[in-house]
Each structure stands twice: as C-alpha cells, then as structure tokens.
Symmetry: C2
Subunit: 423 residues, 2 copies
C-alpha cells in the first residue's frame, strides 16, 4: 500500500482502555451511494466511553461483521465534514457538511421522517461502520445522510457562516437530541392543554361546555434530569421554546444533576440567556436530586411536573422522573437505556397515567430546528473553553491517549479533535 | 333502624366468592357536597371479578378504612342514576344522570381536566366508597361527579331520549375508556404525521425543505389487543374516528383476541358498521394472536403498526403490543396493570423509540365524545342480548349469586342489574 493511500486515525483496540494513533488506509467507495469525506472535526462522546471502558464487547461484534480483532476500531459518531472527496455527482463541491446516522429514506416504509430508525441505519464508530476520529471516512447512503451547510439553495435559513465550525459538531447528535427531548414533551397532547390553559382533549369542540369546571390557573412545570451536554442543550431549547410561547401563567423549570460542576455550568449558561433577552414570568432553578424533589413538591402542592425530560439513561433517572412527574404527565426519555429490568411496574404507570416517549433522536429531521437554535445561541454554543461553553478544547490526534483517559475520569468536558492539527 | 330506611343491595363478603343479597341502610348525606341518588341500572364489571375472586384483599383494605369485615361491600362502579334524592339545590330534579369516579375539580391544581386523577378521587365499589349494586348510593363531590343527561341547557348535543337507558351504563366507564385508548393514539404527535402523510415534526415550517426526502405513500395501520367490552368500544371508536378523516391512503386495523366468541362478536359488530355506512379504503381483520403477528408483518413489510391499543392489562398483552408496534409508534395502554415486573427493558424501549400512554380514562372529560358515539351507534350499543350488542341481559338482584358465578366462568357477557326488578 502506498503512503499516499494512508491516513492518521485514532484506533481503539479491544478489550478496553487501549487507544493508539495509527496509520490506516483511506477508505474507498464500496457502493454507488457512498461518499468519501474529509473530516474537519470529530468529537469524543459519552458513547465512545462505553466502548473505551470495554462495556460493549467490540471484539465479539467485530467477529459478527467479519472484522479482524487486530484491526482495531475508529470511534465516534460526532463529526463535521470539511469536504466531500469523492461521491456521486450530486454531492460534490460541498465545503462544509454535517452528518447523521447513515440511512436510506427509501427503506423505511412510509416513515422515513423517523430518520434514526431506518432499517438500513448503522452507527458510526461501531463494528458495523468506522467512526470519525480519522482524517477521512466513508459515508454510506450519503444522499440521505450528509447535510450540506454550504449551499443556500438547500439551506433556507440565514447564513451558515455566522456559525463557528466547532459548534457544528453539536449538530451531529447532541443539540438535536436535546431538542428532541423538548419537542416530545411540548407537542404531547397531554401537555398542550397545560400550555394553552385549555381543557383536555384539545380540539374537542363538544368539551367547551365543560370549561367552567376547570380552573384556568396553572403554571406549566418542567424538570430536566441530567445536565451533561445533551441535558444542557435540552434546557436551552426548553427555555427558548417556552419563552417564545408567551405563556399567560409563565412557567417553572428545575434542572437537576447530582454533580456540582455541571450545575455551575448550567447556572452560568442561564445567566447568558438572561443577559441577552428580557425574560419574564419564569422560575428557573438548578438543583441536586433531593433539592429538586422538595422544590417540585412545593411549587406544585404535591401534584408534580407537567413533563420531565430524562437525559441520563439509567434506572435511577427513570425512577426519579416517575417521582417528579404529575398524574397525566409525560416523561420524555432520550437517555440510552440498557437491558436491566425496568424500574417501574405496569401498575405504577397505570396509577399515575404516565405517558412516555423513549428513544434515539431522529437527528436528520431536526436539523432545521437545531440549526436555528445553534445560530441564535452562538454565545453559548460558539465558544471553546469558556465557563458557559459546551466545548472544552480542540486538540490534535497526538493528545488522543491523554484525552480519552482524562474524559474517562471526568477531568475534561467535551473534547473536539482536529485531525489536521499538529502540536 | 326502621324498615323505611333500609334498601336491598348485592353484598360481597371477603375473602372470596361470597355474594349475598341483603338489606342494608339507605345512605345518608355526610358532607355538603354529597348527593343521595336512586339507582336505575348498575353493572357487573371485570374489576368486580377481581374482588369476587379474592385478589384484592378487601378485608385488609376495609380495616384501613375502619369498616367492619362483617359488613361486606357493595361492588361496581358502573351505574345509571334514575333520580337525585337529596343534595344541594343545584342538583335536584334530575331524572336521568350518569356518574364517574367522584372527584372535586377544585382539588387538582390546574389539571382538573384529567378527571380520574383528582387527589380526592375514590372508586365506587371499593372499601373507600360503596358501589352501585344497590337501590340508593351516596355520591361524594356530586357537583363534579354527576352528569345530568336530562337538562338540555347543560347538554348541548341532540336529544338524550334517543338513547336506551341500559346503554347509558356504558357511559360510566366502558365507552369513554375505549375512546380514551383511541384518542391517546390518534392525537399523538408521532401518529398525527402518519395520518396527515406529512413529515415529522408537524408544524415545523423549517422542515418543509425536507419534504422531498420522505415517501408520501403510507397506510396508517392499527392493532387493538383485547376484544372485551372496552376493546370493542375502542374498535368502534377507532373505525368512527378514522372514517371521519377521509385519509388519502385509507387505513388498516387488526383487532386481536385469543377467544373465538369475542372475535365473532367483533365481526358481527363490524358488519353492522358496514351495513349502515359506505366504508372505503379500509382493511379490517379480526384475528387470533398468531394470525395478527403475521398480518402486521405482511401489511407493513415488517415495519409494524403506527399505534397499538392495549386493552387487556397484563404483561403478555404489553409484550405483544411491543412486538406489533413500529419504531416511533405508540402503545396506548388502558388495561389495568398489576405489580408484576414490567415485561420490557429500557433498552428495548430505546431501541424501538416506543411511546406509551398508560392509565385510567378521565371519564368525565370524555362524556361529550362518548355521548356522541353512543347516539350514533345505538344500533350496536342500544340492544340487549343480541348477537352484536354489548349488554347480554338485564336481571334483578335475585339472580345476583348466579350471575356472578356465570360471569366468573365466562358463561355470560355484560350483565346489567335492575335493582327494582322482581322476577
């Protein structure tokens, strides 16, 4: 193999904690819908940690996909693309693009809008598909997967150049997932009447005769459980969405995390929101778990939250969400859950009339909303390394081993790799 | 106690299978919001069977409410009221009324529209509140609980006299619960786009640029699991709601029950719907569990149902609902679930992006919709004892012991008691 066909990539080697920076082949097109793209930035993501810690049995999965174990694996699904190197004609000449889970809209029987559950989808950074901590990657089903941020004809919103390149990384997963948690809650038919101070069910004309029965005073109340990057994005999106609605009774939000540093970051982000906008009739608290239980109790006289956003993905977060939600409330769960027994019984769910929305964000469908918020809140998303920013630092691959170890220990926040940076 | 203050009631005596017809005191007003009402009809309900079979530890619950065990308990929450005997002035002179779970709209902190989860609610036919298999009962919080079917001023729909008295019993729980299962599904933000053949999320103007990505052809597909009286009502309501919408691609429904007699009743009810209306572009199947799995597989090329209505209330019904629902579909669960471990993990729910709505129907809020359907489909709801009717027979209290035993064995369908009938 000639040197020209090699690139530098960060490789994980099973079973665990083994990260190496290696020369590997530049990928080639293997299917007419593929594109080979040049990476601008790639992320280091909580999901990558699961692999790094050896929780995902990558070697067994590699065997399933007929990949030799010695080959290692390039991680991460977070990426921004600098250029499309080769592809079908339709995709060429992009100079900045974002990407989501590869999918083919023709293969999801009338439901292609739910882009993350295409039956052809594969995760970048899994044994099924090499991830983006490299200089070049292959993108399958590129027509439906890549999103061109440089073409004003396909992108109707304002000029993308207002947006910092590193912040585009948030588009690949984190920001849309936060927005997904919010719209699952706010568009729910049992939350809409609370926001409208109208009787349930909405749009039932016959029920207008019952209006007199229902007290009009209510303050929509929300909890967000988990203030990692996705939880922070969910909170920013919730503040944005509720702020736009000019709710007659205002609203209340409690953002919950057991880790003090995360709570402090959330507080300084909220200050930025308040500095830049006139906010009114809203109550916003950032609290520990025990504080939040008391706060919701006091705010709602024991009734509970209209909706709870669960952005953690474990059983204690689900159980807390159940405790905080009101009867007929919704738990919007975007945390990645495992195979442990569910912490609630059907009887508990029946007794509280709980609604749930579970699962992975359909990122591609939410790009327009996410991009809108990304532009609007560049003061938060655009910075690197500042107190209220979501991205901690941008480093070259030569710092990869150190950064994985530091991220694993919680010593650094969100890391972005620049595959072209030399230190 | 004088004979004039006694009435006849059906009494359950713990621990199980002990039904007696006894003289008990006529209840008296104990709170200013109470009403004493004269019963027209009372039902025999699946929930009553749980008590009859000794599954609910009534004696322990009675001890909690300081009721002597020897006193027995009057069951059922299904009732139609002939007259209000005594109450505050606002309620007097009603000659026909329906009733739901007692609640006080002032006590649910801005969410009184979710009528079944008022913090003051009590179930008729539980140790907390005597049920309706009697000649007279006490109705707490009568202003918010009773619904006057005789006053054209409070009832804006067409003349209630079109409706058979026995069919009004269905208003107390069964018919609204079926409708609840349907509207939880049809108003869900992930089902609305399927019905509208529009991209998700609806009302996101920015997403219109993505329209080209999404195939427009899709046939909304539904499953109903469980064809007891509530499941039949859910099916009739679903046919009615979908029929009204004139969906461009039509729709498909599979109604599922393992019991052949229930499937046959469902089929003859569907024939009545077809006889009375021009139906088009709908596919309707009534099937066993294994047949339904195959049918959904074939209809949707393996994708699954847009929504599944779970009207059973056990783990095998929940697991079947999960199997039949598509990724991003909704399971509307109105079955009464117990305390056994939930049959699905968070990982399974995440992996399929499942949405759930659980719980008890807010009957009072759905009276308008239920009454509308009750009038429209008197051909189905109005009859007694016919092949496609929901009510099997109307009997006096002297047949109570026999009817409980027959209902327990599945030998009779829905039984209605007339407390004034002498045989």
């Amino acid at each position: 193999m000639s040197v020209a066909s090699l690139q530098v990539a960060i490789r994980f080697h099973p079973p665990s904690y083994d990260i190496r920076v290696e020369n590997v082949p530049i990928p080639e097109i293997t299917h007419p819908d593929d594109a080979i793209v040049k990476i601008h930035f790639s992320g280091l993501c909580g999901s990558d940690l699961h692999v790094y810690r050896g929780h995902e049995a990558v070697d067994k999965m590699q065997a399933k996909f007929s990949v030799a174990q010695s080959a290692g694996l390039t991680l991460t699904r977070l990426l921004v693309i600098l250029a499309v190197m080769s592809s079908s004609a339709r995709l060429s000449n992009w100079d900045r693009a974002s990407v989501c889970i590869p999918k083919d809209s023709r293969h999801f029987a009338g439901n292609a809008r739910f882009t993350c559950r295409c039956i052809q989808s594969k995760l970048f950074g899994s044994p099924a598909l090499e991830g983006a901590q490299a200089q070049y990657i292959r993108v399958p089903n590129a027509g439906g997967t890549l999103f061109n941020l440089s073409d004003p004809d396909t992108w109707p919103l304002s000029t993308p150049k207002q947006v910092s390149d590193s912040s585009l990384l948030l588009l690949a997963d984190i920001l849309p997932t936060g927005i997904f948690a919010v719209i699952q809650a706010l568009s729910h038919p049992k939350v809409l009447p609370v926001l409208a101070a109208a009787p349930w069910p909405l749009h039932d004309q016959a029920s207008s005769d019952m209006l007199g029965l229902f007290p009009k005073e209510n303050v929509p109340t929300f909890a967000i459980i988990g203030l990692g990057p996705v939880g922070v994005c969910a909170t920013i999106s919730l503040l944005d969405q509720l702020g736009k609605r000019q709710l007659p009774s205002g609203f209340r939000i409690v953002a919950v995390d057991p880790i003090e540093s995360r709570r402090n970051k959330m507080r300084s982000i909220y200050s930025k929101v308040c500095d830049s906008e006139v906010r009114s009739r809203e109550v916003f608290a950032v609290q520990s778990i025990e504080e939040a239980k008391e706060t919701v109790q006091t705010w709602t006289s024991g009734v509970g939250c209209s909706a709870v956003l669960e952005v953690v993905g474990n059983n204690s977060a689900l159980a807390l969400a159940y405790e905080l939600v009101q009867p007929f409330g919704i738990i919007s769960s975007v945390g990645v859950h495992g195979e442990r027994p569910f912490p609630l019984t059907g009887g508990q769910l029946y007794d509280k009339n709980v609604s749930f929305g579970f699962g992975r964000c359909p990122v591609r469908s939410l790009f327009p909303m996410a991009f809108d918020l990304l532009i609007k809140r560049q003061d938060i998303f655009g910075g690197v390394g500042d107190e209220s920013g979501l991205i901690d630092k941008i480093v070259g691959f030569d710092e990869a081993v150190e950064m994985y170890a530091a991220f694993d220990k919680g010593e650094v926040g969100k890391i972005v790799f620049d595959p072209w940076k030399k230190t």
